[in-house]
Symmetry: C2
Subunit: 252 residues, 2 copies
């Protein structure tokens, strides 16, 4: 029997934002057409995935009507702390692929399984010998890195920093020292309503000669990337308001 393929389908970065961008701004035609072809999905959230497919349908008619599409949400345990520690058995979700069906994996914003769940499904596909294909789309981390002017030849993404104040400041001090020692750019994210307090913590704590970049609303009309030495940030009287999703970067 012919085995299907697992397609990793990226989505726009405007999830949860008030203004939506046209899909042609962030997805190549091939990605749009492939998303329109698939009828079976594993997704982060079925409701937002249906909204994504409606936008696809406006540009490339869905081969299978929306109400006939099969969508399975990634199980809760894959959402919590990432699913890199074998949180669930992705093999069950891949039975349709072994039976010849192509399957799409999609998250709510950006490329699947990067700063988002889904990796355990991809691991399970490799274990079953299923072909995996990554489609091109936006990745906020790389858009931010490219636009930051920081070292793009040695960098880390470290996820979220701790929420508790003291633990967070300690982590910032550690990353600050590590950046200066290793020259490795450090990238991290925060939920939008904590962006302002994150910026405050960073400006309080970082070395004056460390470079800090903040990339907000990437791919949106309001996109804004700022990158300066901390001493320059400190001297500015007006700080940016960071209501959109932001990426923070530390470098030299």
């Amino acid at each position: 029997m012919h085995t299907g393929t697992l397609y990793l389908v990226p989505t726009p970065l405007d999830f949860g934002c008030t203004h939506q961008v046209p899909l042609t701004e962030c997805l190549p035609q091939k990605t749009i057409d492939m998303a329109a072809t698939l009828s079976h999905w594993v997704c982060e959230n079925a409701k937002s995935h249906r909204a994504f497919l409606k936008r696809i349908n406006e540009l490339s008619p869905l081969k299978t009507a929306l109400q006939s599409q099969v969508m399975v949400e990634l199980p809760r345990e894959a959402h919590k702390k990432g699913d890199h520690q074998g949180a669930f058995n992705g093999k069950e979700l891949l039975q349709v692929v072994l039976q010849g069906q192509d399957l799409g994996l999609a998250c709510e914003a950006g490329m699947p399984a990067i700063a988002d769940p889904g990796s355990s499904l991809v691991r399970a596909a490799h274990a079953l010998g299923i072909q995996v294909r990554s489609l091109v789309g936006p990745n906020s981390l790389m858009l931010a890195l490219s636009g930051s002017g920081m070292n793009g030849q040695n960098f880390s993404f470290v996820g979220y920093l701790p929420q508790a104040q003291e633990a967070r400041l300690e982590r910032v001090r550690y990353l600050d020292q590590w950046v200066r020692k290793s020259l490795q750019t450090q990238i991290f994210i925060e939920t939008p309503y904590r962006n302002d307090s994150m910026l405050e913590s960073l400006l309080q704590t970082l070395s004056a000669q460390t470079r800090l970049a903040v990339a907000c609303g990437l791919g949106l009309e309001s996109e804004h990337i700022e990158s300066h030495l901390v001493e320059v940030w400190r001297a500015r009287s007006i700080k940016p308001k960071l209501k959109d999703p932001c990426i923070f970067l530390l470098g030299i």
Copy 2:
């Protein structure tokens, strides 16, 4: 006077490959249209950049004829070991932007200034208060990471490993231990003609329970991603031939 914008323009991943992919497979329409609008460029190599613009012109007619486009190559020192250490003064190249001209920055494959030179130009733009906008396009590192099934919530890109045999093996042993301790996926690259010997070194040196992924020819017709525990790789009698550009990933 109205200041221009620095656009970071991604290019396809088929540079140096025998088979070219249609640009609609890897670039959103907005990226194609924006590339067609620009007339001033800083690029890695003028010859390959002209070839890229010819491909753009087939889909979206160039606003400025190819022979009238202004292209400046990134200086040699930015190519060598990255240009994150302030290798050259990008401010001179940005004078046209201060005079109102939009400028594109492009590398030969993928997103500019990621695993490629260009970051010093972006830093200089921020220092001059010039707006920087990242356009969406393919990034081989993220396509590989997404397709590897490895931890995408904590990862590093560490560039090239040392070429000398003993130093390389030592570095592999270090990364192997670091992956197992930190759970942080480690991503690195190699020039295609050394891919086979890299795979051999990895299979000799890594722990049996470390996960190794190899992503070859991303975005090409021949794209192939394999991800297995090292003990599984070792048990396979046929190893992939790695003639295309490859990304290597270590994880858990």
